[in-house]
Symmetry: C2
Subunit: 551 residues, 2 copies
């Protein structure tokens, strides 16, 4: 009895003492976020910089400053926490991406995206794993198992979807954006399957049945995750339409959309599915149905509030990675062998370059074979940008690296004490510092060069087809609220010819699928779940009358 | 070296293992939040219920359910954390209240609010402290010092501003809302001063200089907190106006407003000021200047997004208190003496009733003496509602009670080991369980009866003056976006007569102050900080053209 209350009390005391230092670090963080936003605004017209690089550099500078002030003892105010990353920061970013994505572009290129995300990631992972196995053996960086090599492959094969959002603009290069970002979303599912495979399969005996099992797992995970997201989105649309929530309060509509989206992500995580896929599809369904069922003011609010939350989370993430990069504890382990760490980083970087090239160009070629019209094909210049823009490794890689180190050491502490603890620790420290180096280098260097590369390879003149329908310098405030309407207007524009459906399915498969979907949507889905054209609030209320300007 | 990484690794392992259980509890919480919103919507027209009581009851039911499922071992999924409460949940609620408050009502009644918040809280605190000193001595509930009694007085004298928001409606009863809610905001400063006084003053020797010191501290704290909030608000207005942030992105404007407001709260907490006062005044300044400097879509977004965040935080809070109430650990300490706990709760409840009555009626009388016109006076029926609506003790009381137990036990563990640890623990447990009982009872019973009481005492017919200018059943979606304009239109309507200012200052002090403020505002503040009438975006952009419907 006494012990129980003692525990509570010591917890309370910890809270009281930790309170002020956490307040200090919150203050610094929020002030830095404000600084990043203002500096990002001032650098808006700069062709090289973007907000993520600004945040990363500010983070590193703050880290250096804290390191100097504290006399070299510590350099970060918050330790990088996977929880914070996967539970709070990632879901709003991916949800907003799904909510604002141009649905037409995404679904027209669906097969290519799936190929890139699933097959491409596998190819890249295989090449990186094979490469590190061959090279690291000769470098004496401590004992590593086949599982570690596979983990490195899985970590560095995954495209960071958050980085992609920063360097590619949906309005300027819609095709490239949908391909690279879509790949980033799909390969989250691939990564989950890969990580589970690494942990559950017996890696000593590899036989062909594993490949089948792997494909089965991927399809199961992809389908269940997608269905969960679609289900959550449809449920929110149905509840808001049926219960007519906007009648009493717009706040409830916005809150319900936000909470349902978050719930879908958390449910996916609970069931060990791919939360990123789930919340992305939830965003797509919500923008197709739920968004049209709410009142006008809720539409404006959700559109901008989700974008703002996602924006703040992105900046927070880069700031965080920048500040965490200089953690003196990690670097002290490799300080006696700086050359090894640099060499490992260089090897990883090179393998990432090769691994990505090894699937982008062949798969683009395959994808072009299936397409009839030359305007739909991916040009070589576009392939180069796809290759380049997906090279960045960011916070997702970092979180996975920490996760892997934790998992490895858990395995070690459980059973095999055969190897020396210290060498194992050193190889882990090298892995983490190398990941940080790769993350910083790839984000800053590749990030800085992506904008100029796009300017060079795809100059913004209107003869390039779909890749430059919008003017490059249009402010976001103008284009964002019109995205949904725009993309849906595009969709309807394609409903021109209706020849016999089977021949059409063979010659223009995506368009036929799209026409069938429209038919199904109009006759079954919209009557139940609302969607465009549904008017939720009785006409005559002042808000609604004024709000019609937003249509 | 090895130890350091070991520490990191064990932290990572903890994260990995704690990860899944925290995911489970997040799922339950988010699902319950959704349920609360939907049920709250369905009960909207019910005259007894409100969202907070629904959330509290759902929380208690979930607690019972978990208690039964876990076989009586535990009943909560998250332990009530002061950090979570004061750092994450409280700031958005208070900021939104400042942002949406009717500024005219607030400043016209400023002196009355200050009297209620400062003098009233002191009177109430004195009565409760004196009462518990006399009664608890005869009840044998363990050794308690004078500091403990003072802490109980401070905890139970403070009106819970969050509860007030739930039972009083700004549109239906603007005078009562501004008085009771304003009092809740001001008495946060009083509470901070009281708590500091209790901890720093030598309570054995009380002499008159302490009273002066107390008044000095209160004024210092009130002024610095207010200035910090006003400063943060003005800075945000200046930055957004000067740098023309809406030119590139509406997201940056919204993010900057949100972050600056939060920064003001955290800075106040950092400097041991009253964060509630700071963020409340920051909200007022932001709605007066910053809100008018941003683009149309940002205005709609901030109005609704802040309201939504505040709404979710309120529901979360009540759900949380409800679930935490059944924590078996706390109740097991008092299970052998259930009578004492009930008696203590009853005594506290009675003292709260008496303590509040002892200042509401006399101070209202004083306030009425200063007012000339009978329409401005607080009627007796309104006084009864002010007394009643401020009786609820909610999450703020609970957080303070935990805080006090932590502080008391910290003091004990530091020095005086004279008394038996077990009795001290028991008196603390009784204090916590009694606080929970008072919180649950007052929120549910007083909360349930406030709406009917207002209906009974102030029936909604239009002859009551300002207290029912808006129709009671107008949906929030209609009134919320118009609040600011409405209140400012009211303000301008009073600029009719301009007699000689000194005579006017004596006869109609608030109006003269208001006129002088308007003059100052128009000639000095608005040219620098923007405000109403400032047009941030060049006309001609589609968003802006469409958005004009929102004016």
């Amino acid at each position: 009895m006494g012990f129980e209350l003692d525990a509570v009390v010591s917890k309370l005391q910890n809270l009281a003492t930790s309170d002020h230092s956490s307040v200090v670090s919150m203050n610094i963080f929020v002030a830095l976020l404000c600084a990043c936003i203002v500096i990002g605004h001032l650098l808006e017209e700069n062709r090289w910089m973007n907000e993520s690089i600004t945040a990363l550099l500010i983070g590193v500078c703050t880290g250096v400053f804290i390191l100097l002030v504290s006399g070299g003892t510590h350099s970060h105010i918050l330790v990088f926490s996977e929880d914070l990353f996967f539970i709070y920061l990632l879901p709003p970013i991916i949800f907003n991406a799904g909510f604002q994505v141009k649905k037409k572009q995404f679904f027209v290129n669906f097969i290519t995206i799936m190929m890139f995300g699933a097959v491409g990631t596998l190819i890249s992972c295989t090449i990186i794993t094979f490469g590190v196995t061959q090279i690291f053996k000769r470098m004496d960086i401590g004992p590593m198992e086949i599982g570690d090599y596979l983990a490195i492959g899985a970590i560095f094969a995954a495209t960071d979807s958050v980085c992609t959002l920063q360097v590619l603009n949906q309005d300027e290069t819609p095709l490239l954006y949908s391909l690279v970002f879509g790949e980033g979303v799909v390969n989250d599912a691939t990564s989950v399957v890969l990580f589970n495979a690494i942990q559950s399969f017996d890696l000593e005996q590899i036989d062909p049945s594993i490949a089948l099992q792997f494909i089965g797992n991927f399809l199961y995970l992809f389908l269940t995750s997608t269905l969960l997201g679609v289900g959550a989105g449809l449920l929110s649309a149905y509840v808001i339409k049926k219960l007519y929530i906007g009648r009493h309060s717009t706040d409830r509509e916005v809150a319900l959309m936000m909470l349902m989206a978050y719930l879908s992500y958390m449910l996916a995580e609970l069931c060990y599915l791919s939360g990123i896929l789930t919340v992305f599809f939830c965003g797509i369904v919500m923008s197709h149905y739920t968004w049209h069922n709410v009142t006008e003011s809720s539409r404006v609010t959700t559109k901008h509030a989700f974008a703002t939350i996602s924006f703040v989370a992105e900046i927070f993430l880069f700031l965080y990675v920048g500040m965490d990069a200089l953690d003196i504890e990690k670097w002290s382990f490799v300080s006696d062998r700086p050359g090894t760490s640099v060499a490992v980083s260089a090897v990883l970087m090179g393998l990432v370059l090769v691994g990505r090239a090894a699937f982008v160009f062949p798969l683009s070629f395959l994808s072009n074979l299936a397409k009839k019209s030359s305007s739909e094909k991916i040009t070589f210049r576009q392939q180069v940008i796809i290759w380049w823009a997906g090279l960045m490794r960011g916070a997702v890689s970092m979180a996975l690296a920490y996760n892997q180190v934790g998992a490895t050491l858990q395995t070690i502490s459980r059973g095999c004490f055969t190897m020396s603890g210290h060498t194992q620790q050193q190889s882990n420290a090298i892995m983490i510092t190398s990941t940080i180096t790769v993350v910083l280098f790839s984000t800053v260097v590749f990030g800085l060069m992506t904008k100029p590369l796009i300017m060079l390879l795809l100059p913004p003149n209107p003869h390039k087809g779909t890749s430059s329908t919008n003017s490059i310098l249009s402010p976001k405030s103008v284009t964002v609220p019109l995205l949904a309407q725009e993309s849906e207007a595009d969709l309807e524009g394609h409903e021109v010819s209706r020849p016999s459906s089977i021949r059409n399915l063979l010659t223009r498969p995506t368009h036929t699928v799209h026409r069938l979907w429209r038919k199904f949507d109009d006759s079954f889905m919209r009557p139940v779940f609302g969607g465009r054209g549904f008017v939720p609030v009785e006409p005559g209320s002042p808000t609604e009358r004024n709000g019609h300007g937003w249509h």
